[in-house]
């Protein structure tokens, strides 16, 4: 369909217009770490995200207490550090699965049997309570999407005031992975009578553990 391409571009070239200036991007508001964390927490809790602040090494202990209590029997982790740590510290009553083979080999099991997925993240955005995820070989895309509960470990030092700041300081324009995500709360819909309902297709619950 190269012909279509040429026709369309030719039609578009029949006019030349002034390209207006778009102005400078708004500067990020300076705020210290604790203010950013407070903002992040408030924004995410407003859309039913669950946020906990823990000391660095305490997250395994938190999971060991909480997962059995929440009825999580099958936990899925990636092949990175988080998975290794969990493997080294088994949680009684919780079976750890590793996302270590192509999804085609176990799609049905992934969709039907996993209760929770745990991932890290590249940081978060305080203004909107959004997590930045760059799925990849160690933490594939569906790990944060298919299980009904998604647990995210967030380093307290990785908070950005807003999306523009995050894009700038993480250098997104220099190269994005095949898939990048902003996640702000559990999956939701208001398609029936504009009534907000949680967990339509993605996770029903989103838990963020802020470390440090």
């Amino acid at each position: 369909m190269n012909e279509a391409r040429d026709h369309i571009l030719k039609r578009l070239r029949t006019v030349r217009r002034e390209a207006p200036d778009t102005g400078a991007p708004s500067p990020a508001t300076g705020a210290d770490g604790e203010t950013l964390i407070a903002r992040f927490r408030a924004a995410l809790e407003a859309v039913r995200g669950e946020v906990h602040r823990l000391r660095d090494g305490d997250w395994v202990g938190w999971l060991a207490r909480e997962l059995p209590a929440r009825g999580v029997g099958n936990l899925l982790a990636g092949t990175g550090e988080i998975g290794h740590t969990l493997q080294a510290h088994p949680i009684p009553g919780v079976t750890l699965h590793r996302y270590d083979r192509p999804v085609e080999d176990w799609k049905d099991a992934l969709f039907d049997h996993i209760d929770a997925g745990i991932t890290g993240c590249r940081g978060a955005i305080a203004a909107t309570g959004s997590l930045i995820l760059w799925p990849g070989p160690e933490e594939p895309r569906l790990l944060s999407l298919v299980p009904p509960l998604h647990i995210v470990l967030l380093d307290a030092a990785n908070l950005h005031a807003d999306l523009a700041t995050a894009i700038r300081s993480q250098g997104w324009a220099q190269g994005l992975p095949t898939n990048a995500l902003l996640i702000t709360g559990p999956s939701k819909t208001a398609d029936i009578e504009q009534t907000l309902t949680w967990g339509i297709h993605g996770p029903r619950e989103l838990v963020v553990l802020i470390l440090g």
Binding site: N2, A4, R5, H7, I8, L9, R11, L12, V15, R17, A19, P20, D21, T22, G23, P25, S26, Y99, R101, P102, V103, F111, A127, T128, G136, P137, P140, R141, L145, V146, L163, A164, I167, R168, W172, A173, G175, L176, P177, T178, N179, A180, L181, T184, G185, S187, K188, T189, A190, D191, I192, E193, Q194, T195, T197, G199, I200, H201, G202, P203
Partner: protein, 474 residues
Amino acid sequence: MNVPGSMTTLRARVREALGKAPVRRNFRAAMDGIRAKRAAALPDATDFAQRRARAAAIRARALARLPELLERLEQRLEANGIQVHWAEDATQANAIVLDLLHRAGARSVIKGKSMVSEETGLNDALGEAGVAVVESDLGEYIVQLAGEPPSHIVAPAIHKNRHEVAALFQAHHPQREATEDIEGLTAEARQVLRRRFAQADAGISGVNFLVAETGTLVLVENEGNGRLSTSAPPLHIAITGIEKVIERLDELPPLLDLLTRSATGQPITTYVNFISGPRRADELDGPREVHLVLLDNGRARIHADPLFADTLRCIRCGSCINHCPVYVQVGGHAYGSVYPGPIGALLEPQRLGLEAGGSLTSACTLCGACGDVCPVAIPLPGLINQLRAEGVEPRPDSPLPDAGRLRHRGEALLWRLWATIYAHPHRYRWLARLLTALRRLAPRRLGAWTRWREAPRPAARDLHRPGARSGVLR
């Protein structure tokens, strides 16, 4: 395909819509709610004015350099491994999609929301070719089950209440326990559609923004169905209009922010999905192939029209629709077009031609509400009014299809007569005297005008005489 058609067919649809009290209640309630949410999300008028000036400039700048940006986008996408296809019209777009599905041997498709695919009638085309398509956005799924087109570009099933949805679900999922509870219905859709995501051979989605700089498709959604459709099946085909491109990634945040606040009053949606390539060799999931179909379908023609090119700034937030006093009364289906409301009244006549779409411009009171809320400052009321003019008295070189075709000879003659008389003082005075003398003959009924109003009657004395006597008029 959805075409608004003549005034007569539009009127008939409007009459039918006005007769459905429950549907009108559904619309009223939904629109009141959504307007309140938007107002709360954009509380400061000065701040909104500044933000939308910037958003409008970003879109205008992208459109001014559209061919260049599209080429850069194509180059970046292909470098990232995303294959780009160009379609001049709906038929070509559907043929491209079908061909891709055939080559992959795909028989079942799970679909994320895409208004452009509504524009091309993609589901019908796939159905005819024997491909099973399931819409996965909850609203789209509901209207698909009902065999109806979406009645709103953001909230497709806004015209249905829970009881109607419950009846549909019961008819289509008889094996499941009946419920009328919204949470129960949502859970039911989750269960039914989950299997479809796991089994689909291909996912088809729309796109909200294309970023030329990085070669990225940006998708905005709350449900996660968009993410699932684009990452669970082995093949992902995205389809969108050529106008969706922006130049740089740092231009995205201001647009994204206004899009979600304007659409649903949210500071951000649950998911913003940046797709910049298919699965790499070392990755364990994601589609092995990603394709983008870029659709023209009249957009390049609109782009070339200096009067109406601003139409293409639209980011499809639906805010103009939500604030339209006509839409809220008649609902989306009355328009008979793919895009309803003010953006429909502006876009469809240009896309389809004035003969097939021009009647929509009459479904506007020119109240200005749409222009006030549009996050990219499209002067909707003014442009809709100009479109009306193009129907009857077009510019000499108007590129609009069927320009001037709505001209009515009797009406034109009457206006000419009026202009002749009003342009000359003595002719005007003569007419005024004549009308005053014959005032008793003035008709009491003037068609639709006098349904709710009284017919105007000339006064016993025209204003000229007292005016002349007091020296105000000569």
